[in-house]
Symmetry: C2
Subunit: 409 residues, 2 copies
């Protein structure tokens, strides 16, 4: 899809010096009956501006470098075609020419060109419409599935697909909640992590958290502002040359500062952050690469997300970060801080032992109407800083409330 | 899913005389953070009423009979676990104990019990709601994707998934159209083949064809009535003891009879049908098994659909029939005749050569506002005949028009 700009099942692109060709199975006569007329190889060649040949003319090139296939079906297909062992999703096990090819493709795909940026903007636009529909569908007493349906209907209506399994939940503290059967309570916050994918495969990835009633309670607003402030700190750091780990840490430090200000944590914010107290409430990375895949190139393991020589940190605060490169113009990343009250972490004596003096339980208990908040935007690194592709989606408390009031009237 | 009643990824059910046990991977501590608390093995055992053991206690049983996995990922998983070669989707290549097990499971799954029928009814109910939403969303000038979105939103809202890739198209002559970008024209018919699948995996599969304007033209109504009459003929034959091939042929014969009556075909209806003229306009089977899969057990090849000793006919009219068993109470089938003007067939001199005298082109051309019509219902074989599970969905022309008028007002 990246090189050809089209989703062609069972096609193989061979790049061999000047002899670049796409090998595809010619349409079967029955295809027209079942799936409509498909382009002939000549028409495909003209559409794609490529030399297109029937798959049966593919000559086994055992020595060719190969990009690792994304699934087992493709691995079988390629193993059969090439006459050699092929493993699916083996990014971290790559070696020799395959490794060199993967690294070259990563270099290319890290920086999006104008056509790719146009696609990301298109995905962002429909993602924004979907979130507007989510606000509009929200009301106490309906189920999460109803809001999910309203958001996904916008995506389908626009001829797109969801870029990943939608998260629409009143239990925002479950980071990747997969169920949607719960009823929206009057005092709940609803967290929706929903993104559109264009027909050419480019992804949007946005999270908003809003009050079911249309109005944040004081406690909800206070914690929401802390997450928003954390996102602002991260966004301020997104620019060419910045190291993504520093962006992640800026968000974490600001989150801890805010929690100290609210009295949820007690102590020196800088020391608390260094001790890992932030990861108790924000146990994931600040973001990841976004592109043709929602976690772009993650099928190549950490090679894509981590610059040569860098590996994942071991601390609780940093080990889940999917990206640690120096940013450069054309890169697109998500910025998605969160605050979560996760029982597995906060109610586990071993986990909290180190910070038992720092967590002020009576204050934390005061925020009983907050379980999880995440605010996520898609950000393009530009020559002179960055541009938020998803800025049209309300995220400031007053804007969220206004959007919800507008959708009701 | 069939034996356990739950969708458990990476679980293995072992039935060994009296020692029936389910082996599953115990929840990983991080699971709770990402996906919410999962049941412990003890809780699962209590929920399912089964002996549940950790997967690491699974002892390799190379001689065990195995049901063929449905995809390559599962084949890899099972090959690794059993220490032997495992092929995906290899229904027709089964042998030895695997074959005996497959046949035994087919025998079981052919007849649905009360719990399964309840699930099929649930799927039919939500499928009916989806079709009602499809009628309501239809209007000239919108795209097919908008109607598809409205129908799928009902399914998602009800906590279900689509049972298969939805077909929503003004080009009904493309049997499995996969695109949804076309605009609905004032004089078009819209064909929607959309079904819901319950969380336990049971499928609905329904097609309706309706006029975008809300009113059939005379020509549309005439051809629609022919398809309806063909469906009526098939439905009349669905009862215990009937051979499904005969149901298929009854539908084809009635379709040809109707086309002769309209003057589209000329000649003796019985002779025309025997010569295969019906397959020019109806090149697929009258239906298939419906159950836990929309083409139930088709992953086992024709073993499920074809009774022992029966194989697919070679004639154009019969070779695409997916099912040829004698019907018995508890079986569920689709009944889905159609009429299609498929250019690949009707404009190909070789294909039509045999019937060049029989097809009356000027009359066929008169039906220029019809490209494809299909009417599909889900039918349960009962002790004394059959019951249409999807009878709530309007299909008679007056009912369709009334439903569309109601949805507009």
């Amino acid at each position: 899809m990246y090189f050809v700009g089209a989703n062609l099942e069972g096609a193989v692109l061979v790049v061999d010096g000047k002899d670049t060709a796409l090998y595809v199975e010619p349409p079967h006569p029955d295809d027209a009956i079942w799936f409509g007329e498909k382009p002939t190889l000549d028409e495909l060649a003209s559409d794609l501006g490529l030399d297109v040949r029937p798959l049966e003319r593919f000559a086994t090139t055992e020595s060719a470098a190969l990009l690792p296939p994304q699934d087992a079906e493709s691995a079988f297909f390629l193993a059969d075609l090439l006459g050699r062992d092929v493993e699916a999703g083996g990014g971290d096990g790559l070696a020799g020419p395959d490794l060199a090819l993967a690294d070259a493709v990563i270099e290319l795909r890290l920086q999006h060109d104008a056509a790719a940026i146009e696609q990301l903007e298109l995905a962002a636009k429909v993602t924004a419409e979907a979130h507007a529909a989510g606000f509009a569908a929200t009301r106490p007493g309906v189920r999460e599935a109803l809001v999910r349906a309203a958001m996904e209907a916008v995506i389908v209506r626009n001829g797109m697909t969801t870029a990943y399994g939608s998260i629409v939940t009143v239990h925002g503290e479950i980071l990747h909640a997969t169920t949607h059967h719960r009823e929206l309570g009057q005092t709940d916050l609803l967290l929706a992590d929903v993104g559109a994918e264009t027909p050419e495969g480019w992804a949007g990835d946005v999270t908003r958290t809003w009050p079911v009633s249309g109005r944040f309670s004081t406690t909800q607003r206070e914690l929401y502002e802390v997450v928003l402030s954390s996102q602002r700190a991260a966004l301020a750091g997104v620019r060419p040359g910045a190291r993504f780990l520093d962006v992640h840490r800026a968000a974490g430090r600001e989150l801890v500062r805010g929690l100290v200000e609210l009295g949820v944590l007690r102590g020196d914010p800088a020391e608390l952050y260094e001790s890992g107290a932030g990861a108790l409430f924000f146990p994931h990375g600040i973001g990841h690469l976004l592109g043709l895949d929602v976690h772009d190139m993650e099928d190549l393991g950490d090679r894509a997300g981590y610059a040569p020589g860098r590996t994942r940190a071991t601390s609780a605060g940093d080990r889940l970060l999917r990206l640690d490169r120096d940013l450069s113009p054309g890169m697109c990343v998500t910025i998605e801080p969160g605050f979560y009250k996760i029982p597995t972490l906060l109610d586990d004596p071993d986990t909290v032992a180190e910070w038992s003096g720092a967590i002020h339980r009576p204050t934390l208990d005061r925020f009983s109407d907050v379980r999880g908040i995440r605010i996520e935007d898609d950000v393009l690194v530009t020559e002179d800083g960055s541009r938020v592709l998803t800025r049209a989606i309300p995220k400031y408390p007053d804007d969220v409330e206004a959007a919800m009031r507008a959708s009701v009237s």
